[in-house]
Amino acid sequence: MTRDEFIREFADIVGEDAAKLTPDTKLAGLEGWDSVAYLSVVVLIDDRLGISVGPEALQSATQVSDLLALGDSRFSS
């Protein structure tokens, strides 16, 4: 999975237009960033990147780049 694919799938989860999301986009400003979206991102990172994310790591994420950092070592180019 590439970074762009991750952002596209994340956009689907939070109900946003992927083109409008950048690494600097603040998660708190996304209407769809709620507890259900949390779970979906956990599953996305585990399923597609094989990384089990702890609750603290996800809850401390503030912007899209923090989510990308969680899967950093496993993204394909």
Binding site: D34, S35, V36, Y38, L39, V42, V43, D46, D47, S52, V53, G54, P55, L58, Q59
Partner: protein, 344 residues
């Protein structure tokens, strides 16, 4: 010697809590999201005045009626609950009397939540296999919905109330092949009712409702769940239980005919099933119309899987449970044939 389940009955809370009621409380959009993630579209909850033990008792009476089993032969009663009738005495003692069981019957409560059923099966099995008991009645019953703040969207849409009864006896063939148990008390904070016990007794302070960052309002006497932490715990531990049981019993995934998981929510179980590459037909669900009924969810889905014809005589069935504690357990059962008297 092993132990077989010879019958299961369950009783749901008699009051409906439909989606429309919660849409009016939390908004349609919010409830649509919860429905998509949980698969739960309806709940059955216990009306005021009904305790978990009442639903367990009703289940036991129906079981004794339908099987014709002589209640005087029951010499072990285990009642699993986290919503007992009283702080003391132990609710199982009250149930021994209400069910008219012999005074020679051992009776005690087992205080665990979603993992309770497999723990109780393990205790009953070990007591029967060692000759300490002959016939065990394992009861479950909880009214967890009564511990919820009605305005807490993180838990109200998910939970229901129920009770169950399971009868067990010794067997020389089929039955439990093995168990796996586990505990991580460091995760206790993720799923708890902080106040109202002896560590933090009820006070004016513990009754004050506060609103969290997600907009859910509750007091310290209400059930609190960190949904994300519990989800991550469950999707990590459930596959571990499966793998450990298979190794312990020298079995492969293909050997197991049916995998049943604690009916927490659809999204979680779907994910666990996908992670373990279990074909959809080798599991079973029964929560969409009743909610997560805590420890009773496993006897409910086991009974329903039997009813759906998914458990044939001789089949290997794996039960996997996990929840508050944090606590988890699993077992593999070789389902008895008809001569084993296991018509659940």
């Amino acid at each position: 010697m092993s132990t077989v389940i010879t019958a299961i009955e369950y009783t749901l809370g008699s009051e409906s809590l439909p989606q429309e009621t919660l849409e009016a409380r939390f908004g349609k959009e919010a409830m649509d999201k919860v429905l998509k993630a949980s698969g739960i579209r309806h709940r059955q909850v216990a009306p005021a005045g009904i305790c978990g033990s009442d639903m367990a008792q009703e289940s036991a009476e129906r079981l004794l009626q339908s099987t014709g089993f002589n209640r005087s032969r029951i010499d072990l009663l285990i009642f699993c609950t986290q919503s007992p009738d009283y702080f003391l005495p132990t609710t199982a003692c009250l149930l021994q009397d209400k069910l008219g069981l012999e005074k020679g019957c051992a009776a005690f409560d087992l205080n665990l939540g979603c993992s309770q059923y497999v723990y109780a099966l393990g205790v009953a099995h070990s007591m029967i296999a060692s000759g300490l008991a002959q016939h065990a009645l394992v009861l479950t019953g909880d009214t967890m919905t009564r511990t919820l703040s009605p305005t807490d969207r993180s838990v109200v849409p998910l939970l229901g109330d129920a009770g169950s009864a399971t009868l067990l006896r010794a067997s020389h063939g089929a039955g439990f092949l093995g168990f796996e148990f586990g505990t991580d008390g460091s995760g206790a904070k993720h799923l708890m009712i902080p106040a109202g016990g002896f560590r933090e007794p009820h006070s004016a302070e513990t009754s004050i409702a506060r609103t969290d960052a997600e907009g859910n309002t509750r007091t310290r006497e209400n059930l609190y769940m960190n949904g994300l932490a519990v989800f991550q715990f469950a999707v990590r531990v459930a596959p571990e239980i499966v793998r450990k049981l298979l190794v312990k019993l020298s079995l492969s995934m293909e050997d197991i005919n049916l995998f049943l998981f604690h009916q927490a929510n659809h999204y979680m179980i779907d994910y666990i099933v996908r992670k373990l590459k279990i074909p959809p037909e080798k599991t079973h669900f029964h929560l969409d119309d009743i909610g997560n009924t805590s420890g009773t969810s496993m006897p409910v889905v086991l009974k329903e899987a039997v009813r759906a014809g998914k458990i044939k005589p001789g089949a290997l069935v794996m039960l996997v449970v996990f929840g508050v504690g944090l606590s988890w357990a699993g077992t593999v059962i070789r389902w008895p044939d008809d001569s084993g008297g296991a018509a659940a």
